[in-house]
Symmetry: C2
Subunit: 452 residues, 2 copies
Amino acid sequence: MYPTGIRPVLSSLGQRLSQSFTKTTVSPYTGRFVRYFSRSYRSSPIRGLSSTLRVPYRSFLSTNLTSPYTQKRTTMSAQKTSVNVAVIGTGNIGGELLNQIQGFNISAKAANTPQFNVVAISSIEGHFISKDYSPIDLGNWKAVSQTGNGPASFEVLADFLGKSTLPAIVVDNTASEAVAYSYPLFLSKGINIATPNKKAFSAPLAKYKEIIDASRKSGALLMHESSVGAGLPIISTLKELILTGDEILKVEGIFSGTMSYIFNNWSPNGKKGTAAFSEVVKVAKDNGFTEPDPRDDLNGMDVARKVTILSRIAGLDIESPEAFPVHSLIPEPLVTAASADDFMAGLPAFDASIAAVREAAEKEGKVVRFVGESDLVSKKTSVSLKSYETTHPFANLQHADNIISFTTKRYSTTPLVVIGAGAGAAVTAAGVLGDMIKILSQVRAADAPSKN
Amino acid sequence: MYPTGIRPVLSSLGQRLSQSFTKTTVSPYTGRFVRYFSRSYRSSPIRGLSSTLRVPYRSFLSTNLTSPYTQKRTTMSAQKTSVNVAVIGTGNIGGELLNQIQGFNISAKAANTPQFNVVAISSIEGHFISKDYSPIDLGNWKAVSQTGNGPASFEVLADFLGKSTLPAIVVDNTASEAVAYSYPLFLSKGINIATPNKKAFSAPLAKYKEIIDASRKSGALLMHESSVGAGLPIISTLKELILTGDEILKVEGIFSGTMSYIFNNWSPNGKKGTAAFSEVVKVAKDNGFTEPDPRDDLNGMDVARKVTILSRIAGLDIESPEAFPVHSLIPEPLVTAASADDFMAGLPAFDASIAAVREAAEKEGKVVRFVGESDLVSKKTSVSLKSYETTHPFANLQHADNIISFTTKRYSTTPLVVIGAGAGAAVTAAGVLGDMIKILSQVRAADAPSKN
């Protein structure tokens, strides 16, 4: 009487994702299904824990970390496992990350899933290696790292991680070129890397390719979501668009929280801008939204580095962040000002000239924004001041938000857009931890670096 | 003369992500690094291929699929591997997905990385199982599936996939409740699932928990990015926020492309709305933007299902999409209209009443949008008509875009927002393929379902 199996279900269904269609046609379960359900159906309130203990969500890509099923069948060889972690840099981001790792581990322990064993911490306060690979107490990492117990070099660290039976991750929380340029050493030994550091990915092209190639050859993962837009899903989204066969036509955005804040205030949407540019910069500086020397934001190079990173992922062989037009907002005579204070003192003299840009935009009913763009069709990349209609998403940006827009073959009528805070210790560390979790979900005991 | 190793680099660096800081302090490489680089430095133009052949990007989470390193050391047990795939449903989305899988496989073959062996296709046209597990020619899938070679039931399919030596994915491209309710059968056998089908995740709570629990117990992955917002990074973003320890305060958005289109046109931003509601619905229907019977959009249940899915992931035990207030836009007397045509004929009589809502909003300088909301703090969930200031991101939505906004403890000043096309075969299939790639990156030969 009832049809059984897939065939009649589909035959009656059509294959459209149509609610109305299925409602009227799929009601009769097969006898088989009813029997199946009556055997296995039960209430299983597994979510009770999660809101309080933050047990990792079970069906996420990066959970299901421990499969009882897999364990049973592959116990020694392919068992999903905890990983050893070396943290380099414990400033704002590194410190916050260590706290977040501690929180993750508590959840993982409760859920009986793999966790992060932090076995080395290198910071300005000291360098500690847990010689027997026992995890460092993260409630006490600062004191532990200060006990500095021996010589620290990248080679020593790589050898140490390589001698463990567990897979390893080096987390680089610095902005150091030297640390970034050590990635091939770690990667070649099968040690994975997670980092917000932009230096490797905006390095001169040959160096960049050397680093990417080291990852490719060893299979060690190299993850850097937080190098653009902090914890926002920018790099993962771009890579997935490419992997699924979409064609990237244009990537554009406001990539600097500092520049976002300055321009959202100096050229506000919906009303006439009144503040002088130098005043807005001063407020941003006083609130800690700029580098100690605001020229390190206003030169546009931070944006240029992020545009370089995304452009390369999208397939453009950018030579370096200096290899394309970047509009510096530092008035020429102030480039050589001796100090940040001298720079700030000189800036008001140039308020009128940049105000002219705002006035011209306002006459057209537009606002001014500091934008990075990569046109993958014309292969042109730039960082520049641009004007936008008041209804444009770039015009409507709030506070110090980043906005990144992907125009692709599939997202061509309107782009795919991500908006949100693109800086700050908590969200940046969360981006790094997200990368670490993805690595954790992909490695197993058998992935431990070799012993040599 | 030069300092060596991590210690002096970090000591001189500080641990801030500060460009200016590092520029002046990190210039001197150590002798050790210089030697290292001179040994291994070389140009390695590995990206040449990727723009033309779409070779998967090498350092993505879901690439590095084949690790020569891992292969060498764990050849038979943990080798990353291709997976067998059974595709259920070959309509708009399923057909597009098969094309996208074909494109992915061509890239993967060129890069010598694992690929998807489609070994079964079930559709309204026929049901085909490749008995020797040899991959179906995807250039010819329609004809192949029409050759229907034997009885098709979920049990037969699960047994077939379970007998393979490779891990397996069932891809459900239907909107069928019967297919969704078969997930525990597949999951319990260690077979992974990727799907845009909302039915499992918006099912009555006990059924939902049964399905999630089956995934948890076996460790088989259950991925459904496209069940909300098609290919947009919504579910992955929400799960990563939770996994990294953020606290979700509010999830809100415009989750229906149909409703987005209707309200963006009926209550346009920046100018007075003039079209009658029934007119806008008619244009949407004529352009294929609505279900055949527009009541299946206007009843709000599609949005309610998506809100249910996200709310549950965020930790709310929503009983069902019927368990919270949903504002239906179907005038009461038309609920029982016999046909879509009857409904459309009756709709103009109600234009005046809904126009009053628009006028009230316009008087406050606002626009009207159809919004789903989940407040995780008050634990209140709803689908309703709301008014927004013209500068609000919901007011500025274009075309038929979705917009989803996450307010969290970390993203509290301004929310994390994702905007873009949330429907359509290409982007929906891309979301499913993205899930499949994530599964591919996490499974290995040892993960094949057991033989029983």
